[in-house]
Symmetry: D5
Subunit: 143 residues, 10 copies
């Protein structure tokens, strides 16, 4: 453990976030995401939900201001659904807390999301059980 570093960030995750550069992406996958199969670099966070990880990661990781949508969620399959998945509300609150607006969130169709995950710098495997929780963050710059 270190000063200023949230406890939930393991040494390997911290090192991975540090190594990433401008434009590199990291996926935070839910408990059923095939992370071990798709990941170039796998960071396991068993026992944790995604909001806890998301908030901790954003305390250290800047997101990319050079693109319109540095945050990506998986598109809801049934587009007639009246409401967005419940977990997205908590995401908006966390993102807002880190000064990222809802307008900076993009959406990717399920299989496109999978293909993009395979190209990500790393995938964090959580055991989040909410539906539509998978999220991709694109790293920004430190100036």
């Amino acid at each position: 453990m270190l000063k200023k570093i949230p406890n939930i960030l393991s040494p390997d995750l911290l090192k991975t976030l540090h190594e990433m550069g401008h434009g590199d992406e990291i996926v935070i996958g839910d408990g059923n995401f095939p992370a071990a199969n798709y990941a170039k670099r796998l960071i396991r966070c068993d026992g944790h939900d995604i909001p806890s990880l998301l908030d901790a990661v954003l305390q250290l990781l800047p997101v990319d201001d050079f693109v319109a949508k540095p945050i990506t969620l998986m598109e809801v399959v049934d587009k007639s659904a009246e409401k967005a998945p419940a977990i997205w509300n908590s995401y908006e609150n966390i993102l807002n807390h880190h000064e990222i607006s809802p307008g900076q969130i993009g959406y990717e169709e399920r299989f496109d999301f999978y293909e993009r995950s395979k190209e990500a710098y790393a995938i964090i495997a959580t055991t989040e059980t909410a539906l539509y929780g998978n999220i991709i963050l694109k790293k920004g710059v430190i100036s």
Copy 2:
């Protein structure tokens, strides 16, 4: 994730618990325990406290009935303290839930505890912040 397996147990931890045999020991260390330095096999559980791990581990791991004290805590340095460390109460509840009585708990002086940890089959590194939380479990038999 799998049926019957608590989410907090990672694939590596599950594999490690499985590989251990009768008499092998596993340490669950707190957030300041020098786990990376002492461990033959290190299992990181950043962001978790010890009671959550302890309860999950005991759902799968039998403790050793062949010895009087299969559970070991680190002896309080200031023996004139009136009360046991607060976290020990939660341990007693969890152990009781798994049919392990307070009489099966032994105590090891701090530096002896460290030396014994170096010989353990594995050390789990948590980020538990309570004092005197380190605990050693000796695996029993499956019959």
Copy 3:
């Protein structure tokens, strides 16, 4: 060995089943299946037949309810054969025991089956000697 875990599941197999995510596939191959040649991850279970493995795996691994056919067998070459291979009866019983119906079983032509095996997350090599015993399981979700 651990509580709740069938003895036939080795630490590596247990870890592998745990790591798999939604949609990942695992092949249980018979004794002549070229498992070492095709497998991304190889789990050897020499001396065991497939029904024993199948039953043990399904105690922990959910199968995919999002697809119509989460179970796949290798199509019989001689389609005029009057009867299904004998081992399929035992498979239906085991699957039924785990609440998987015959309608959830699909069939793949031999060489397609091989190509699909090469993409599977893992292959279990048994020494099953019955014909047409190879089987693929697609992992479902834990909710």
Copy 4:
């Protein structure tokens, strides 16, 4: 699988038996034996009992005729027990079948047995559940 080779012998076990030389020892441990902790080379045979392994190993491995006791069992702790452990009967039958007489069996006190296991060329980890099943074989010569 190969002609002449019992199915229960995995490629790694076969290779290990072949590599051993005159006087090298192999332990076949029961399901609670701390094999992963003690073994220089670990061969897992999850799901198998010791008699099946013992018979298969002795079809290929000669035992040492240069010493009086090429076979070693773990001494029963309670020496007043009226009868030898039940599994020893099956061992005597198997050994007899391979022309090894009861007189060639030695006994080692439990902790001496453990120390000797640490020096063995390899340990086979079974999931045998009978008591006092652990056995050490000393390899003989091929002439």
Copy 5:
């Protein structure tokens, strides 16, 4: 060394033959065959000729009865040659001894033979000096 196993088969070769499945191929190359360059798995048998290896391998390895030509030789370049290469006589004798008929031998043009070798499960490198000695065996089933 082990009972029943010809001395010429090293532990690694034995393990490799065991791991192979139905349809996997193994090449026995002569002393000038670019084995180290082409092999997925290389087994060196320096100092040995091919007939000795061939006979030993066939004592354990079944050849594939599901295809017409489980044995493959390299086609003679000068097809007007009156006689088959001398070493092929010894091959026919060895094959005959293992109940494989001349009709089960196929021929592959030199560069096709090379390409096929690159896909083989393993290549055995001998120091055979006879011309046209290279041979491919396709593994059959154990029932």
Copy 6:
């Protein structure tokens, strides 16, 4: 690069500081320190002086309050020297800035310092050219 993390701390150094536990030590060696020879874990920081590293490390790493002297310098060989090495002044300023008093600094004879360095969790190799710059930090607790 990450928010809150001084640029001079590489991903590996950050990971190493994070992994260390209570009582583990890290050495910051000067440019002539035989770091590659003595280090269990070596972190190279070529081109940097020690004060820059020291200040950056102390922004994240707590020092041990359980011991009297969590900071260790190498004792000056010529004890009749009138003044402490010049670089020690800058160290005192940096330590003071991180609320570590001069009284918390201990001194170790040169060869004892070397032996202790070999037991440290890690050694940082700088190219500091000042004399008597080597320094050992003992990690404290995060509560």
Copy 7:
């Protein structure tokens, strides 16, 4: 440290520069460059700016006289900008000091620059914060 070798060049960087041949390229990336993602061989120089590295590298590395533009910078996106990025002035001074003229500098569009970086022999990761600092050097010959 060695005679004649600037302190900022680590043993790994020195070895890498030495191994490179005529026409091989090395990238010196700024602090936000996705170096860990793109590099075949990654050399981290955390805490350093690019001019310091550039000058040190050019003391040992000849640049390629066989091509017109052995030095490559990343093209400014907004071509209407009145002035070149400030850091390029310092580059010109350093290059001039090593007898490389401004005419030997080429420019590569941003994404072409990225693709070329992936093919480079190595990437040096600095923590340079100036814009448009990334630079590619093509190694020349020693005669």
Copy 8:
């Protein structure tokens, strides 16, 4: 060192030459050849010129008599040059000494030579400074 083996041939080079088969190629590159970048297997011979290596290699390595041009040099770019590169004279003498005639030397255009080098079994990196020194040898047969 060994009897019959020229001192300049290191154990790794000797092993590499031995492993090569009929038709495999080895490149001896000059001091500026990008050997570390192109080589599947790299053998460094720093401090040596090519003629010394060439002569030593040819004492052990037969060249391929099945092709017309088992030796390949890099074509001179300026074809109007009146004379062949000076080092080629020394090559002809060495080749002649090993009974290889000038007619057995082929020429490859520079970039074709590079592409072919990438496919070679190994590249020897010398520090030869003469121009047009790079040479490829195709191994022949031992009968």
Copy 9:
């Protein structure tokens, strides 16, 4: 294969002999010698007898003239035996052929021989079946 190198010497064995220096020892063990257990470096020569290896090794390896007994055999246990083991005659002939006299042969008691083998640079594992065939060679100098 290479010119001047006996076919029985594999690339690894050739490399090993080359790496050895003055005074280093190599053991040629018979088929029952526990070579895999004792060897720092193991060279398998399955299917070969010791005389073939001995003769080939001595064509390249000088033996040590600085000691009286550069060759060591294992002392016969039953010293009353009237005759030396039969294989020693063939050894004397081979040694004589390489100008090593019987007087240069020393003898080591069995368990001393084993201990010495553990310190040898390498052990060659043959499948020699003759008794008392194990032999140690001490490398001499090339001048």
Copy 10:
């Protein structure tokens, strides 16, 4: 190859010299020195004599001025010899050229020299054939 770096210094040797710190030792062994057996880190320089290496190394490596004898030679066994080994003259010239006087040369008895070599940071293996050529250099400081 690099500017300022003698061609005979390979990338690995250069890296090794750089990594060494004050007081670390490097051995330059002759062609019969058991370098592969004794070395913690082995640098092969086949085909080179020691004087060439010595001169090149000393162009970059400072020797230790803090000890009286930073250079060590192996003591001549026959102390009645009238003259020092011939190669020592060339050493004195080279050392003198690098401002190291004969008085800075120490001598170590043969077996003490061997034991000390085992503790050295690295050993360079040359193929020097002169007697008494082995030499140890103790690295000094860069200030």
